[in-house]
């Protein structure tokens, strides 16, 4: 099984080398909303994420004012308009090497950005004639993007879009999580380390060595006291608990082989861990740090909760190495029964729930697409993008 996975990843390498730039798609339902997706820019010779307005390519190091640019099909419309919830799909899959590269999922942005409107029960509903333009502001949060093959993390301002810092970390970084106070980013490195990045100085201030452990997924408790990492190795998958004050591993428990993503329930009482090679999602009770439950999902990848923690959306690729399907399964977190299944693009990887809980967004790696699920109407929009999208952050 692992051999085929390696071959598959190597196959992607060849394709990625020829992918270039980003894509801007008009949302077919919401005419004032555009999807901006990016892949690495081979032409620049770097692994930096890039963003485009659909007409010109703007490299990450350049200032970019979205109000001045348009998608090709609507030359007079700004890129980010409409719902107030623009989506940035940054390059979570940097130029790969020929090495085995476990699939990584993006983490939330550095800090939340308050919404235009709150999710209160008496909103003025949007009409087709709405006139909304997002004002570019330096107050918008930054995004942290992993450069797996370049042992670094890139911090990007989102509006305007430019590189704030490139931060060297331990080799083969995979996933990232931000402490609730926004002060620190924790980055797992497959080569046995967890990097502590001070987000004030944009420097690694501490590296926790994890001998014998190859960290992959990471989640932080809502109180910022503990982090949980998954150990991505065959046969002896495990989950470790890190005391963030003492900066050391305080407990490790066994779990299924190749545990990947770790996602905390909104109340912090449960940790969901995907194990795609055994088609399982494990639920860890954080109070006792024991496995509380598990349920089956064919090749689970990304996971996201609704704001109340009553639903969990699991991306299912059907097969961990070669995606055979694309579905997002909505589970009731009380009984782990499937409430809904949504057909999305092939190989969904990252999942995010937008503020208000109505929309769920996925990047579909093998399908080279992005899907938006309307959980109220049950409809799904899927738009093709250039390259193999992975990594997804929502800027409210």
């Amino acid at each position: 099984m692992k051999t085929s996975y390696v071959l598959f990843v190597m196959g992607l390498v060849a394709m990625l080398l020829f992918e270039q730039g980003c894509n801007c798609e008009k949302d077919p339902v919401d005419p004032n909303h555009y999807w901006v997706t990016c892949m690495e820019d081979a032409g620049s010779g770097t692994s930096e994420p890039v963003l485009t307005n659909g007409k010109d390519t703007h490299y990450a190091g350049q200032l970019f004012d979205p109000s001045q640019y348009s998608c090709p099909d609507t030359s007079n419309s700004p890129v980010w308009t409409g719902s107030g919830q623009p989506i940035y799909n940054t390059n979570g899959q940097p130029k790969p090497s020929s090495l085995l590269r476990p699939r990584a999922a993006a983490r939330p942005p550095v800090a939340f950005l308050p919404s235009l409107l709150l999710d209160l029960p008496f909103p003025a509903l949007r009409q087709d004639t709405e006139n909304t333009t997002l004002q570019c502001s330096a107050a918008q949060p930054d995004i942290l993007a992993i450069n797996h093959d370049f042992a670094s993390v890139t911090r990007l301002a989102t509006c305007p879009f430019f590189v704030v810092a490139k931060i060297p970390v331990q080799t083969r970084p995979l996933q990232i999580a931000i402490t609730p106070d926004g002060s620190t980013a924790l980055v797992t490195s497959f080569d046995s380390a967890v990097n502590f990045i001070d987000l004030t100085s944009n420097r690694v201030t501490f590296t926790l060595a994890t001998p014998g452990i190859n960290p992959n997924g990471i989640a932080i408790s809502p109180d910022g006291a503990f982090a949980y990492i998954t150990n991505f190795v065959p046969g002896s998958g495990s989950i470790s608990k890190i005391d963030l004050t003492a900066k050391k591993i305080v407990a490790t428990i066994p779990t299924y082989s190749y545990p990947q993503n770790a996602v905390m329930s909104p109340d912090g009482e449960q940790l969901y861990v995907t194990a795609p090679y055994v088609n399982t999602v494990a639920i860890i009770d954080t109070q006792t740090f024991t496995q509380a439950y598990a349920f089956s999902v064919p090749a689970p990848r990304g996971i996201a909760f609704n704001s109340k923690g009553t639903k969990v959306f699991v991306a299912s690729a059907g097969n961990p190495d070669f995606a055979t399907t694309g579905a997002v399964l909505e589970f009731n977190t009380n009984n782990f029964q499937i409430a809904n299944t949504y057909k999305v693009g092939l190989g969904p990887n990252d999942v995010q729930v937008l503020y208000g809980d109505q929309f769920v967004v996925t990047t579909n790696y093998e399908g080279k697409s992005v899907s938006k699920i309307d959980t109220v109407s049950g409809t799904v929009q899927t738009v093709n993008v250039t390259g193999f999208p992975a990594g997804l952050s929502i800027v409210n």
Binding site: N131, A139, S296
Partner: protein
Amino acid sequence: MRRVLPVFLLAVCAFAQQPLIFNRSVLNAASYMPPRLPGGAIAQGSIFSVFGARIGPATPQQVNAFPLSTTFNGVSITVTQGSTTVNAIPIYVSSGQINAIMPSNAPIGTASLRVTSPSGVTNPMTVHIAASAFGIFTATGTGLGPGILQNFITQANQPINSATTAAQPGQTIILWGTGLGPVTNDAVAPTAGSLATKVEVSVGGVPASVQYSGRTPCCSGVDQIVFQVPSNAPQGCWIPVYVRTNSSVVSNFVTMAITQDGSSCLANNSPFFTPGNWGGVISMRVSTHEDLGTRSTVDVTGDYAVPVAYRQAASAFPFNPLLSWPPAGTCTVYTVKGDLLRGDTLPGALPAGAKTLSFGAALTLSGAAGTKILQNLLPDLPMRYLGGSVSNNLFNNTLYLQPGAYQVSGAPGGDVGAFTASAAMPQPLTWTNRDQLVFVDRTQPLTVQWSGGSGSQVAVVGFGVDLPTDSTTVFGCLAPAGATSLSVPAAVLANLPATRPNPLQSKSVIYLGNAPTGSALAGVSGGGLNAGLALFENALGKTVIWQ
């Protein structure tokens, strides 16, 4: 598009048989208060309920003799905190619910609870244990509405308080609940005697004299509080009652009926609480000043209409949390699971046994801005959108419900026949201290001030929604006609969840509006309804931070 793929259904079956405690489903057996709200902990020595699947025998069993045991019909419960483990005492077991006594020596603080049943061992569930956290039993079994209170007449005559069996000022009342605090031995019949826990009882906002507060000799874990109805307590069908222990922890709010002579209180409310067909169309404008949690301050206004009709069944304890308002000058509180500001509903909003009635095809609202045909906003949600606006030119202004006269008309073709009603949208109040309300200290009274209102009663409603724990506390207060300010007592604010540092995880908002009276309130003629109302509401909202 929402097809359930059979392969996935088959896949999840692999783990389907493990007994399971549902999330956040270890609750005070009387109040059912969400566990992460300030009053939602499980008290030492109290009765709590566990909800889940396969957690007990298929046939429900209830203990019926002392001494109680830590194992009952194959069900046992452990409560663990660090290296300390104690066993709870199950007193009712079934496949979906267990009632048990939290041992009086259970460790205070956060612990982990697990059930062992004939089906196996459940997942652990976090439980929060306190020395005292009182819950009042209710007739509805939801923690809301009429409490289980007995009107003491004689030793042999102590009827349950209800709308038709009201208490009188000065009468002695026996209140039933659980959570006053620990005792020496939970497994044997309790000894009568007041516990050391300080107990305060409020009746319609008036402190009551407490004569006894301790276990009832009949039943482990069950507490009685004996108090006297204050002579100056307000009167009506739904007088709010709560218990505060140790000067800090506030129970669920329940209601009791009080009349001067103990007669039925329903005379003035009967059309909507007696069997028959009830219907109404509520038209409202809500203008919310969103200055916390948004990129920049916005004023959001929405116009809505909500048609509701149902066939009301007879009830010994009539109560509807939306209609059973406290008397003027008082407040009530609901503490419930879910997000009441996004689709979740109050238990009992559709009364038990009631049947929803449909309206005919063309439900119209006519006013100065023309006629609107009311369309369903969302499936299963009877709220109809009429128009709206957002400041800063974010959205086009499509407001419809300007102050003035309106006619509501229903066509035949549904369960409710053709009907008409005429009423007026009132002018909005002026919220004179709105901008001063930012940080609200839940330990201090909250003052809301306004002008306008043409002498009508004014309602103040506050919401605290905590999304990560899926819980809501909402309070409602009614100011007397002509008042221009209202003070919300600290006890009413006590169970609001604190606003989180990330405001997108909380919904903290206060609404202020006229309580529909006069021209804003009209009877519905026709439609086959025993009673019907058309009412118009013009409310203001403001985001706050509950501290």
